[in-house]
């Protein structure tokens, strides 16, 4: 067990060099506004802090240390160069309200990236400002709403969402004031077009899709779906979380989508940082351009300038105080430039190759594919329903046991419609040796399920903690350390 940093605190101890050595006078701030007791923050030395967080970090799995085939999350390698470039002193020091005269270099990067994303997605304009995928979804749906509202088309109250959709899709629709309606998936993994026909209509504001879907297949009926929805007056939203699979191969704009978000922290390889930050740029077709969130960058000759509420009065406005996650955007820009034209389609090619190879090898090892008749995209689904039924070992157990073999578990129990599923996404940056080692671990655990199911149910066995009690965590809420409660 590692102590909390708070538990290492001793009154009066400090990392002296980290604050001004002399305390300035603040006596002009009247007593009534002042804090009475200092906050109970840790009092520790710099060595204690460095050692504590260095050691804590070692209690994580990460791309830099383990294979991380977390489906839908595109855990590919985050180039270290991008980190260096985004953290160049000039970029770090730039205040978000710096005048354009002192921002041309930064703005040039943003503009270039906007242009590249337009081309890659086949959309007509891009705004980089959303802070993550979900905020991109919000922006996208808000634009759909603004579009209908401006046309006085206010009867459209529903957003259609396939049952395979990511949870953020319906949640974003609701945040924009819509009701959601679920569309079932056909047995082949594509959206059930007949079912769609029965619900699409004058109430339909739009549909949110990802293609390839989170089922790991490319929806072959996409043009028909687009036709149906457009005909009914709705718009099409593309959840770009799976863009990795088709980069340089096919473009959402060509499929008929009106608005799309991208996850720079997936497709463009910016780090996930243990939960963020991300960046969720949105791209739109012609008719939604006026509504794009601000700020954006435009160019006139060699001069870059901001597009804000003033220049874009019909915009859905800004969604963060400044320009979004600039540092993430710069990392994505660096990545995109290193990849370049040639590199983009390699992304789709190798991620798809890796996924299909793994699917095939796992099938040969006796695992059941959710959609065996389909080509895998950059990810695919294995269902463990047989093991679960026959041996009482569920997907969570299986996943935890993989951790013991030094592999991060694939995504479990998502998408919801496939029982006992593992959504596996190897990404293009992994080599065959790693894929083979993972396949071997899958086989080994499969063997253990047959021979010693309790071993698997008790996993993990080799990590800093054993299986954690989630129920207790939720029932006996302990969300913050409290000095007094401890002793």
């Amino acid at each position: 067990m590692m102590l909390l940093i708070q538990e290492q605190s001793k009154p009066g101890r400090r990392a002296v060099a980290q604050a001004p050595l002399r305390k300035a006078d603040t006596s002009d701030i009247p007593e009534q506004f002042r804090r009475r007791r200092p906050a109970a923050l840790p009092e520790v030395s710099e060595l204690q802090v460095v050692r504590h967080y260095t050691r804590l970090s070692q209690r994580n799995f990460s791309i830099d240390t383990e294979f991380y085939p977390l489906g839908s999350c595109t855990m590919k390698y985050n180039p270290r160069g991008a980190n260096e470039h985004a953290m160049l002193p000039g970029f770090l020091a730039r205040h978000p309200e710096a005048p354009e005269s002192h921002s041309q270099g930064f703005m040039a990067c943003l503009f270039d990236l906007q242009e590249m994303l337009k081309e890659l997605t086949g959309m007509q304009a891009v705004s980089l400002s959303p802070a993550a995928g979900a905020q991109g979804e919000f922006a996208g749906v808000a634009m759909i709403r603004a579009y209908h509202d401006e046309r006085g088309d206010t009867g459209r109250t529903e957003i259609l969402v396939p049952d395979a959709a990511h949870g953020t899709n319906p949640a974003s629709a609701v945040m924009c004031g819509y009701k959601t309606r679920e569309i079932p998936t056909g047995s082949n993994g594509d959206v059930d077009v007949e079912a769609l026909k029965t619900v699409v209509g004058p109430h339909t504001a739009g549909i949110m899709l990802t293609n390839p879907s989170t089922l790991g297949v490319f929806d072959r009926g996409i043009l028909e779906i687009a036709g149906l929805v457009h005909e009914a007056g709705g718009l099409l939203y593309y959840d770009g979380a799976n863009l990795n699979a088709i980069l340089g191969k096919a473009r959402p704009g060509d499929m008929g989508f009106d608005v799309i978000h991208m996850n720079l922290h997936k497709t463009f390889s910016t780090p996930h940082g243990g939960g963020g930050p991300g960046s969720g740029p949105v791209g739109v077709s012609e008719r939604l351009i006026p509504y794009l969130p601000v700020p954006m960058v435009t160019r006139d000759g060699d001069d870059y300038s901001w597009l804000t509420e003033t220049e874009c009065p019909r915009s859905i406005g800004r969604l963060s105080a400044f320009a979004g996650n600039a540092g993430v955007i710069l990392r994505a820009y660096s990545y995109a430039r290193m990849l370049g034209r040639e590199g983009m389609s390699r992304v789709a090619e190798y991620s798809t190759l890796n996924a299909n190879y793994m699917l095939k090898m796992l099938q040969e090892a006796g695992f059941e594919a959710a959609y065996p008749q389909r080509r895998a995209t950059h990810e695919f689904i294995i269902t463990l329903r047989t093991q679960a039924r026959e041996r009482g070992v569920n997907t969570m157990d299986f996943a935890k046991r993989l951790l013991d073999y030094g592999f991060h578990a694939p995504t479990t129990y998502f998408p919801l419609l496939v029982p006992e599923c593992l959504l596996i996404e190897p990404t293009e940056t992994e080599d065959k040796g790693t894929l083979d080692a993972f396949i071997q671990a899958m086989r080994t655990v499969q063997g253990e399920v047959a021979e010693d199911p309790e071993l698997v149910k008790g996993a993990p066995h080799t990590l800093p903690v054993k299986r954690l009690d989630d129920v207790r965590a939720a029932r006996e809420l302990d969300l913050a350390w409290n000095a007094l409660a401890e002793d």
Binding site: L56, G273, I316, R337, Y357, D470, A473, E476
Partner: protein
């Protein structure tokens, strides 16, 4: 590998994509560059923007960040990990987040903190949505929001919550004091209001009568939402104690805790509340629990609030948050401690005071409001603010923010701030240059390119 799959070439793997959807050569995408070439390109662009002496605050502050913060946060194990869904393989991130939550509750005096929102402004939007859900006593969807709150925060909150038919009602500020006088609330006594937003300090750096405002909320069954600068919390009374009982929700921008200015992001929003309404909280929350052997461990908890479980009924759509920035904030807070934060805050406050005193000697320049401030101040100028700032920028000084677009009623004024990083030399230079600019007023315009640095 192709052989194992049973195909002839990689292109075969894309056979399910209809031919007419296959795109061409992406000709307008520039060709690949090496890491060196990109570093030269971006290095040049970063240099091009110079590193002017920055006296702008307005929600993003140029503070010292201990070297250890980013050296540790960019360790691969933090930098390249995902959201800690697999708790046993993520104890590093999870324990850190629990420590973070503990630090934020200590700093704000609140009971509960989540693990971050995108930024301060969107955190406010979520706080408002949360308050509307939590305030069972109120049927209205009306929120009182001071005009003295950061204009972008008001905009962002409006842009987000208006989709759910929530109305933001503006409270005026006192023209002399720059604060939200309690009298501004009188019209709403007894009205059905869901929540009241209280900034501290407000956009102008002015200190609000937080106890009185919070008390009003309590008396009127209006939930109170504090928007605070976390660094200021080392000096100012924490929202958890305002008006005796404290506010219900507290949010703000975490940037002052270890995030570089970085053009506005990534920063992170923090969001704290009373434990009683934790189930209305958006975003990730980490809980302490036990493992099978009875040892302490940490895990995501109350996930039933979240989109990946609750989908359309979730408290928010947020999924990816600002984890790495919280990592830096946690290390930053551990390194500074309460004493270090307070020294930093005091140094900023004293620097700004010294700057304002020196500026005020210039004829026509004076502080705009007469109430106590913290660490930032509005200054009236005897010339057009934009022109003055432009002239200063030509000398590589960013003198502050021109507030005329957002507050035309305040005349020509700039919001200025000197953090602990501004040296006496830089402050003196600012004062000199501004006084020259003002005395030359009407002269020829200066050249506007930044110096390379």
């Amino acid at each position: 590998m192709l052989e194992a799959i049973g195909v002839d070439g990689i292109e075969d793997l894309f056979e399910e994509i209809p031919d007419d959807l296959r795109c061409g050569d992406l000709e307008s995408i520039p060709p690949a560059m090496s890491e060196l070439e990109v570093s030269q390109l971006m290095g040049e662009r970063a240099r091009q923007d110079g590193q002017p002496a920055c006296f702008i605050g307005a929600g993003a502050y140029d503070h010292h960040i201990p070297a250890a913060v980013w050296q540790i946060a960019t360790r691969g194990e933090f930098y390249s990990a995902y959201t800690p869904y697999q708790a046993e393989a993520s104890q590093g991130t999870l324990q850190l987040l629990y420590e973070y939550q503990s630090m934020m509750t200590a700093l704000t005096g609140m009971e509960v903190s989540n693990a971050s929102m995108y930024d301060g402004a969107s955190a406010l939007a979520e706080a408002i949505l949360m308050a509307v859900r939590a305030n069972r006593k109120s049927k209205s969807r009306r929120i009182l929001i001071p005009r003295a709150l950061h204009p972008s925060y008001r905009r962002v909150a409006g842009n987000i919550v208006k989709n759910q038919d929530i109305e933001l009602v503006e409270l005026p500020f006192d023209p002399e004091g720059g604060h939200t006088d309690i009298s501004a609330l009188e019209p709403y006594n007894g009205e059905d209001i869901a929540a009241l937003v209280i900034p501290q300090p407000n956009f102008f750096g002015v200190l609000e009568d937080v106890d009185a405002l919070t008390g009003w909320g309590h008396r009127n069954k209006v939930l109170t939402i504090a928007v605070v600068n976390p660094l200021a919390m080392s000096v100012l009374s924490p929202p958890g104690e305002w008006g005796g009982e404290g506010v219900d929700i507290c949010c703000g921008e975490g940037q002052p805790l270890g995030a570089p200015l970085s053009s506005g992001g990534p920063y992170f929003g923090f969001l704290c509340c009373r434990q009683a309404i934790v189930r209305q909280m958006p975003g990730r929350i980490i809980g302490r629990t036990l493992d099978q052997d009875g040892n302490r461990g940490f895990a995501l908890t109350l996930q039933a609030r979240e989109q990946h479980i609750r989908r359309s009924k979730a408290t928010s759509n947020i999924c990816t948050n600002q984890g790495l920035m919280v990592t830096t904030a946690t290390i930053h807070l551990a390194l500074l401690g309460a004493e270090g934060l307070e020294r930093t805050a005091a140094a900023c406050h004293a620097n700004t005071k010294s700057l304002v005193e020196q500026l005020s000697i210039i004829p026509g320049v004076s502080p705009r409001f007469n109430r106590p401030v913290f660490h930032e101040r509005l200054i009236s100028l005897p010339m057009e603010a934009e022109a003055a700032l432009r002239a200063l920028a030509a000398h590589n000084i960013l003198g502050g923010l021109d507030i005329s677009r957002d507050y035309p009623e305040l005349g020509s004024a700039i919001l200025t701030c000197a953090t602990e990083k501004r040296t006496p030399g830089e402050i003196g230079d600012f004062v000199d240059k501004l006084s020259r600019v003002i005395s030359l007023q009407g002269g020829t315009p200066c050249q506007l390119q930044p110096k390379e640095s």
